[in-house]
């Protein structure tokens, strides 16, 4: 679905070229030879000690210091044909923002990022750079170690926020067009920012009481502090975006109701808010959570501070998290922080097939997380109070590749064993949330309940209605949602401009 284009559009090529031939960039390239640049080692991201950090919710990565960021920026070869830009789902002008760091113009670097990415402090933290921009970095091909693009993105945006003078671009005069964004997650926030910058009147409708979607209910504080997200949302407010919280489109109002209120174009970014379960016996025992519930209780409702906050969460001593994605890593590291003696990933394939980011897996291992590969539960066993006390598991081996291209796990007969657990978090993905599609029959949906779009434009079957992120893709990443959102925003702008 929605494969990234492997080549830049003519406009983007033009943009890259214009930046590349600027005098200061030419001189900077001359100031240090490529050979010298390649000798500089990749600057290490400072991290908190694993034994200290696995007991609290403070951020794990501390961010590069300015000096380290400048050294890291020097590693960038400022290529004539930068592959990193091609690899970035939102096509950030990566060489430009990195070279601005190299010459110490950090605030300008942050502005450069914001030309294409409304949420750089978030992307700098949660994007899988190692499979996007960094994997295609020419330096990686030349010396084996790519430029730490993500860490630099984080540095520049953190710098701007910390020095307190966040740049607000000049907004063109109001176009008079009203846009409704459904869902304040990464996709919705991105569309909101893009269209507000074009002078449209943007309203974001959000079902929960805090903006951010998965960024606030899903991703834990230790990976993405709430203050960062709040600052990004505040930035959008200053761009003129209106937020209507506690508003469940599909329930509080239908899409048609909003049309009648004068909204002319819509973006559906309601996410994959329907958790999948294993569908095995005993799954509704007490102590078995979906990852969504577990993380929502802890992150959004702040159950880690119970009873100062009223929402409780089970504090397992032996926690098993089923799945191998980033959400599973977030869940298992959360369980560890909440005092689990054993916090384990139970994954039916092997290490190499895990979809989680390498950095997250590495952090989890440092923090004492156990990994049980090639293992799948077959049933849950409860005590006399219906609380989960164990799960029966089966060992697997890898067979032929399946549709996803990964080798299919095949159960080994007679390999059943019992794992004692008192907390289970099921983290095997989500399906699209049905609230909007159920109440908007004109919106064409695919067989998984996902909204169908034209991938070139992100247009849905309804005129003026666009969609992106997990409601279209099922379960994907923050940055892919934002990539969809950028395409949709450009098309929505065209659509709105055609109306007047």
């Amino acid at each position: 679905m929605g494969d990234q284009k492997k080549e830049l559009s003519p406009e983007l090529k033009e943009r890259q070229k214009a930046g590349f031939v600027q005098e200061w960039r030419k001189e900077l390239r001359k100031s240090l030879s490529a050979k010298e640049r390649m000798k500089i080692p990749r600057q290490k991201m400072p991290e908190r000690d694993p034994e200290e950090r696995n007991t609290d919710f403070q951020e794990v990565n501390l961010g590069l210091a300015a000096q380290a960021a400048q050294i890291e920026a020097r590693r960038c070869l400022d290529c004539a044909n930068p592959q990193c830009v091609v690899g970035c789902p939102v096509a950030i002008d990566i060489p430009a923002f990195i070279k601005l760091i190299e010459i110490g113009k950090y605030a300008d670097s942050a502005r450069k990022l914001k030309e294409t990415n409304s949420l750089p402090a978030i992307c700098g933290r949660v994007c899988p750079q190692e499979t996007q921009c960094e994997v295609v970095c020419n330096l990686a091909k030349a010396s084996g170690v790519p430029v730490a693009i993500g860490n630099l993105e984080r540095f520049a945006s953190d710098y701007e926020r910390q020095q307190g003078d966040v740049y607000i671009p000049e907004i063109p005069p109001p176009t008079g067009h009203k846009v409704a964004i459904l869902g304040a997650g990464p996709a919705g926030l991105t569309v909101a920012g893009e269209l507000a910058k074009k002078g449209h009147q943007v309203t974001v409708f959000e079902a929960l009481h805090v903006a951010g979607g998965v960024l606030v209910y899903g991703i834990p504080e230790f990976r993405l502090p709430k203050a960062i997200l709040e600052a990004e949302v505040d930035y959008l407010r200053r761009l003129g975006v209106e937020f209507r919280m506690n508003f469940v489109v599909g329930m509080t109002a239908s899409l048609d109701d909003l049309k009648n209120e004068g909204f002319e174009s819509f973006f559906v970014g309601t996410g994959a808010g329907l958790p999948n379960f294993m569908r095995i016996p005993g799954e509704n025992l007490i102590g078995i959570y979906s990852a969504n519930e577990y993380l929502t209780r802890v992150n959004l409702m702040r159950a880690y501070a119970f009873p100062q906050y009223d929402t409780p969460v089970f504090l397992g001593k032996r926690a098993a998290v089923l799945g191998g994605g980033n959400v599973a890593m977030d869940s298992v590291r959360t369980a560890k922080r909440l005092g689990a003696d054993m916090a384990a990933i139970v994954y039916r394939r092997s290490r190499v097939e895990m979809p989680a980011r390498v950095e997250e897996v590495h952090h989890a291992e440092e923090e004492g997380i156990e990994f049980h590969f090639l293992t799948t539960p077959t049933r849950f066993i409860g005590d006399d109070q219906n609380r989960v006390k164990a799960m029966e598991c089966l060992r697997m081996e890898l067979g032929e590749p399946d549709a996803s291209g990964r080798r299919r796990p095949v159960p080994i007969r007679g390999s059943e064993f019992i794992m004692e657990v008192d907390l289970v978090v099921v983290s095997i993905g989500n399906s699209p949330n049905p609230l909007i599609t159920q109440t908007t029959p004109e919106l064409k949906v695919g067989k998984w309940g996902n909204v169908e779009v034209d991938w070139e434009t992100m247009a849905t079957s309804m005129e003026g209605v666009y969609a992106g992120g997990d409601i279209v893709r099922g379960g994907a990443t923050v940055i892919l949602a934002m990539g969809d959102a950028r395409v949709a925003a450009a098309e929505m702008h065209k659509y709105l401009s055609g109306l007047s």
């Binding site: 079902a207 929960l208 009481h209 209910y217 506690n246 508003f247 469940v248 329930m251 509080t252 109002a253 808010g273 329907l274 958790p275 379960f277 569908r279 799954e283 509704n284 007490i286 102590g287 959570y289 979906s290 969504n292 519930e293 929502t296 209780r297 409702m301 702040r302 119970f306 009873p307 100062q308 906050y309 009223d310 929402t311 409780p312 109070q385 219906n386 609380r387 949330n433 049905p434 609230l435």
Partner: protein, 278 residues
Amino acid sequence: MTKIIRRERLVPNIHLLEIEAPEVARRCRPGQFVMLMPDLRGERIPLTLADWDADAGTVTTVFMAVGTSTQKLALKQAGDELPVFAGPMGKPAEIQKFGTVLCAAGCYGIGAIHPIVRALKQAGNTVHTLLDVKAKFLMYWEDRLKAYSDEFWVSSRDSFYNCKDYIPRVLKSILKETSLDRVITIGCTYLMYTCSEATRSKGIKTIVSLNPVMVDGTGMCGACRCTVDGRTKFACVDGPDFDGHAVDWDELFYRRKSYFEDEIRSMCYWEKENLIEG
């Protein structure tokens, strides 16, 4: 923020909350609920609609003060604000002309069944209402419900009302004399369970409005999952109404009390912080 227009104690431990929420009010249907938080430290809790006024833009719920969040709500006054008030959530109750319908309710359910009784009457049904209260002083909204009821019974433990007995036994004796096309029941889990068991042998379709623990109320978390007809359902988006004869009640009882110890801890903490002086 959503403004409270009225908060009133109806009977001991049961309160009425009237909220200014025009957007919610114009979409309300019988059987739906709202999600709210008493303050930003509170839980997100579901409360079933008891009434609404689309013209005035108000929504009314009736709730029992049982835990920290409902205790906090019970101390709210007109003019106070709620940081979270979202809805209406859940599928509306099925309302059509069934024939003769008995609505059985107790506790907060007396308020919650009110819109259903009204809608069933307006849809042309013969409506029997059976309420359960422990004693006369715990009765509320009697007149409001009587107004839409062709027959009206109250089961109670005192002798004031016409049926001094427990609600399932009263329901069974009604069944002996009256032919019913449907039973709808709202109240505590035990009441809904016993009413469902009372109608099971006669095979009378019995709809229950389940009240499991919820967090977001939009289908996102699965806290409210329950087993109906052998399949897992989310009460927030698939319900809250289900066939009472198909619900796995044991599972529901266990799941509902799964945070019991935490709830007590939370109450103790809150009382110490807020109610004990000095």
